[in-house]
């Protein structure tokens, strides 16, 4: 086999792995959209916020230290203890649940029955708020997140492929972990929504708000629940991306990358999010590899959007989305 082809194969594999990470973010979107009809632009910032909170807790940072110092002229920064990763994750999850409650209580409870586009813009506002809040709470420096996930080249795959093809594939251990976690997450979500009482209630709400309300399902509870789940997904995505490229502002931009994934897969479909993520991941890596050098590189910035745009022209509801039926 020739070198180019092997290289393309490696790129494809890496693209698959990257796609899984996109899919992780996209999952959070789909969950909220299905249950409440809110297109949650803040999902990426939630991932950033979760990762920031996690790092801050692990390092024992004082929240709002910067603000307090500026207001009272003190000089505090750390409590002086560190928290083990697992405990910090649980604590962060608590924060995300509180956030879910606050978001529902202060924002979306007041916006019931508004047009979807108004809700969307409210989530953009939420994204801005959270971004400023996260930075204010934990500082705006780039942080390293290390919760003990394996990282670096997977020697086993390298060795096997070297023996088979005479060319070792570079696959990051972290990507493999992310893939496994994403698979577990999806299985977990499917089991939750199919076999538990809350899961069934959630699906009922997704189907028809008023009908769900009339059989005694508490919409408020379901919305807090679904925002909490989205917070959990954001936390997982934040851990994965944070471990990969550090906890920093650009983390919130992965939300933008998740948008074409959603469009491709359809807003309402969990399998769609996964398949869309994989297509985008592989597509953009391969495109960069094949066409990128001809046009000056960095095509990853726009390839996903243009692909999604062209795709939608032919199939407006995405791959697995529900058919759009319009009535006057």
């Amino acid at each position: 086999m020739n070198e180019q082809f092997l290289f393309a194969m490696e790129v494809t594999l890496n693209g698959l792995m990257a796609g899984v990470l996109y899919a992780l973010v996209a999952l959070g979107f789909v969950l909220i959209y299905k249950a409440s009809g809110i297109f949650n632009y803040a999902q990426g910032v939630m991932a950033l916020f979760a990762a920031l909170t996690l790092v801050g807790m692990m390092e024992g940072q004082v929240p709002f230290a910067h603000l307090i110092n500026a207001m009272f002229g003190t000089d505090i920064h750390h409590f002086g203890w560190t928290v083990p990763a697992l405990a910090a994750i649980v604590l962060t999850m608590g924060v995300m649940i509180f956030l879910a409650w606050a978001v529902n209580h202060f924002i979306f409870r007041h916006l019931v029955n508004q047009e979807p586009i108004i809700l969307f813009m409210a989530t953009i506002g939420l994204a801005y708020f959270l971004e400023g809040f996260g930075d204010l709470m934990w500082g705006a420096d780039i942080r390293k997140l290390d919760v003990g996930l394996p990282q670096g080249i997977n020697l086993w795959i390298d060795e096997i492929t070297f023996n088979a093809f005479g060319y070792g594939f570079f696959i990051d251990n972290l990507d493999i972990v992310a893939t496994v976690v994403a698979a577990l997450l999806v299985v977990g979500l499917v089991v939750f929504s199919q076999y538990t009482k809350q899961g069934r209630a959630l699906r009922a709400v997704a189907d028809d708000h008023q009908a769900a309300l009339s059989v005694g399902i508490s919409l408020n509870f379901i919305w807090v629940l679904v925002w909490s789940i989205a917070g959990f997904v954001a936390l997982v995505a934040g851990i994965m991306w944070g471990a990969k490229s550090g906890v920093q502002f650009s983390l919130s931009l992965i939300a933008l990358k998740a948008l074409p994934v959603l469009m491709l897969g359809g807003f309402t479909s969990i399998p769609g999010a996964i398949v869309g993520g994989l297509i985008i991941g592989v597509g953009e890596k391969l495109f960069e590899f094949l066409v990128g050098p001809l046009v000056g590189g960095a095509t990853e910035n726009w390839f996903a959007y243009v692909l999604a745009l062209l795709f939608l022209v032919f199939r407006p509801q995405g791959l697995f989305g529900e058919r759009i039926i319009e009535r006057v």
């Binding site: 297109f39 910067h66 603000l67 500026a70 207001m71 924002i107 007041h110 916006l111 508004q114 979807p116 586009i117 108004i118 969307f120 813009m121 409210a122 953009i124 506002g125 939420l126 994204a127 801005y128 708020f129 959270l130 971004e131 400023g132 809040f133 930075d135 204010l136 705006a140 933008l256 948008l259 074409p260 959603l262 469009m263 807003f267 046009v295 000056g296 590189g297 960095a298 095509t299 910035n301 726009w302 959007y305 243009v306 999604a308 745009l309 939608l312 022209v313 407006p316 995405g318 759009i324 319009e326 009535r327 006057v328």
Partner: protein, 358 residues
Amino acid sequence: MFYREAGEYRTSYVEDGQTFPIAFDRWRYYLVLAVAFLVIPFVINDYWANAIFLPFLIYAIAAIGLNILVGYCGQVSLGTGGFMAVGAYGCYKLMTAFPEVNIFFHVIIAGFITAAVGLLFGLPSLRIKGFYLAVATLAAQFFLVWLFNRVPWFYNYSASGQISAPERTVFGHPVTGPETEPWAAYLFCLVFVVVLAWVARNLTRGSVGRKWMAIRDMDIAAEIIGVNPLAAKLSAFAVSSFFIGVAGALFFAVYLGAVEVGEAFGINKSFLVLFMIIIGGLGSIFGAFAGAAFLVLMPVLLKNVLVGGLGWPTDLAAHLEFMIVGALIIIFLIAEPHGLAQLWRIAKEKLRLWPFPY
């Protein structure tokens, strides 16, 4: 008391349909114009021009443009930054290729170029609606910024990858370049703002604007009563992009002078202009001005209070600004989805009856 329509007799349809049917409003409008043209140029200095007036005027044009698309025609766009970049780079290429032509025409032609690009990216709107369209316009945003970053022809093969505006004059006074007097730059932008706002106002209350609003309210129903969705949507995209292109050209040539595309016309710019029209009021020309003024003034004010007044570090003020903008958006959406323009309307209604409501 002073805001009355009693005693004003309008005897023709034209008089009844004018933009400011109440004499008080009309005189207020003339007063604002007079102050803007005859007073401010004489008192303006560098700080006021660069911190407040120029960004306000330029963002007002962009906001009117986006408002035509989002507020009047209902097609949500997140590609404003990209279209502003088209205007800026179009203007730059024209300025350097035809230095003998007046910059006024460069800016206008840059607007038409942007309109053509906007048409192209507006085509999918015939198939895609709502969120899907909003996300699809992100393609324009990222693709255009990438294009101007990567293709050296657009920045004339300059080593830094930036574009910087050469000096151009109007009636012998430089309006671009480092030698520009603040009043010249201000007046140059003001002329564009006044003309374009007048055009927008008259477009939106004419048959074109009514078609846009019909499409916004329900496109299938509009189609049934005989509005051609193709023409209406594409014309909205073209007109809106023209405005945004002019704003981009002015933003680059007059306001900033030198531009790095990713920084000046990134995704944040798209959101900023979108916020302006949400806070100002969707579907209102006044709202575009109010929103632009609000979001230009607020950071200046915050900075003065927090950094100048309380002595806090600037990064803290920047974080707070994010939080306040976000919170304001949410508060506006909850309390008054129609923005500052609606508050203004309510205030006027109250004022007509004041001080004896019943």
